[in-house]
Symmetry: C2
Subunit: 320 residues, 2 copies
């Protein structure tokens, strides 16, 4: 995917917005700063512990806007339905989208529905695009990261990917793992309102924590060092990962992000994130250094050091 985007999409649509490689494009219109983003959702199964494709499609786009520091305002929804889908399933998904949008205070203002023949789709695919408004003066992105910055993580990792995997494979662990799918825009707004000088934000979707950190290290040409044991992974998630031979650092999340902030504000920022249930496990997980440029390393629990790299395959296909 990384290669596809670099080699095909960027040359075909050459423009500064795509080249910024942000989750959202930043648009200036008559003095107004807007963020604009899109995401398609093809998750299988459609319903999973802790969420469904409808709420996921709202949270995913709201979170991409939040990662630009934008306040999400408006969503579009494009539904592609496979012939034979039950009206009951569709109604549950549509209602879930409606409730999620209301909970995020975004308005779903325009939509489209297409039906494809049986066997040419997979139940429901949903695309959402979103518009948010940027009301701060920060430049949030990898280029703003500085040596000495603190890396914050907004909660425990790996739950969304493992919830999907266990639901899809019919694996039964002692307890059911619930997805962490949730909107994070209000958390980001809280940091900004308190004057935290956020340098970079990234949500930990496909590729998980590891891929997000590697992308930021590469784009900023800096070294990110994290401490493994500071990264919260629930016991059941860790156990499920072990059984399936997966590394939780690479497993997808849908309600988690990293924030790069000046060290002097890190304690205040963690306190702000922890002020509600969603951010209860927020923590400092590492810091930024100048060298070795473009690299992510992890101090392991037994005192070693490992290099974190991009995975070449996909650990978990169709998790979003």
């Amino acid at each position: 995917m990384h290669e596809l985007i670099e080699k095909m999409m960027l040359p075909a649509f050459k423009n500064p917005w795509l080249e910024a490689r942000h989750d959202s494009a930043l648009i200036e219109l008559a003095g107004l700063r807007l963020a604009f983003t899109t995401d398609s959702f093809v998750v299988s199964p459609l319903f999973f512990p802790g969420g469904d494709i409808g709420s996921l499609a709202v949270h995913g786009t709201v979170n991409d806007l939040a990662m630009a520091g934008a306040k999400p305002l408006f969503l579009s929804a494009g539904l592609i339905l496979e012939e034979g889908l039950s009206m009951d399933t569709l109604w549950r998904v549509v209602q879930s989208m409606g409730s999620a949008a209301e909970a995020c205070s975004v308005r779903l203002v325009t939509g489209d529905t297409k039906v494809v023949d049986r066997g040419k789709g997979d139940g429901i695919f949903i695309n959402t695009a979103g518009i948010g408004i940027i009301e701060h003066g920060l430049t949030i992105g990898p280029k703003s990261v500085r040596p000495g910055d603190t890396v914050l993580l907004s909660g425990d990792i790996g739950r969304h990917g493992m919830a999907i995997m266990t639901a899809r494979e019919g694996l039964a662990f002692e307890s059911s793992i619930e997805s962490d799918s949730a909107p994070v825009a209000s958390h980001v707004q809280r940091l900004i309102a308190a004057g935290i000088e956020i340098h970079c934000l990234r949500d930990l979707t496909r590729g998980g924590l590891a891929s997000a950190l590697v992308e930021i290290a590469e784009a900023s040409s800096l070294h990110i060092e994290i401490e493994e044991r500071s990264v919260s992974v629930r016991g059941d998630v860790r156990a499920a990962c072990e059984v399936l031979g997966l590394d939780p650092f690479y497993v997808a999340n849908e309600g988690r992000f990293v924030a790069f902030v000046p060290a002097a504000q890190s304690e205040q920022a963690v306190g702000l994130l922890r002020s509600d249930a969603l951010g209860a496990e927020a923590s400092v997980i590492g810091e930024v250094r100048a060298e070795p440029s473009g690299q992510v390393t992890a101090q392991t629990a037994i005192g070693g050091c490992r290099i974190i790299d991009l995975l070449s395959g996909d650990q978990l296909p169709r998790i979003c």
Copy 2:
């Protein structure tokens, strides 16, 4: 689809934007008037005479923005690829999107790509969402239509649907029918710039001319009467429709629209539309009356009158 939207989507996302039932949602932000719209494209085959899914995905959304009288500015693109799709096919589609965007002067600023398993998609599905700016003070929509208004049609009808149909079914007519897929935003902008007081615009996509007129007659509670022989249908399109038992009035177009304008300005408006090749066949096709409310009638060539109604089935599935 009509029923699905009325009974499911509107209640789930209850808000004034959706209830306006426009092609685009009108958004006001700090004094700025924007249009926001989305459309998914699932056309089969991906390539057809006169276009492909890539250019169609750009034109479709640009045209939806144009129907609000907006100047299209930014697009998002969400691609859903079926595993096994050739890179060559993808590259052709992506290049076609890039060229179409450039020709329309819109920037494709944000995108997303997902891959689904073989047999769970159909080559490529594309969603585009678009943002445009409204720089006029007109209220364009069915509620602004008035008795006495003239109905303009921007060109000949039926070509897109018949191009898809003949390509899909491998039908060989004497000449190949090319889709009319084209962006119409510059035509609308030309009318607005010249001071034409546009009351309503509607592009003639799914359901064709007939469905667009019926929807406007119902929403405005007025009577639209058209003269059948004023509606331009190419000979090969008419012949293909006859062979297949289709009515060209219901066949989809992707570069045609109707405009409702005050009678006093209709001649000037037709002249403006005809000033380039795309609008060369623009014509006056009818007028608006008060009664019978909500009805569309057509004066036939032999002097009769027929009532135009919505089709309950889909004449041509997956034409966009």
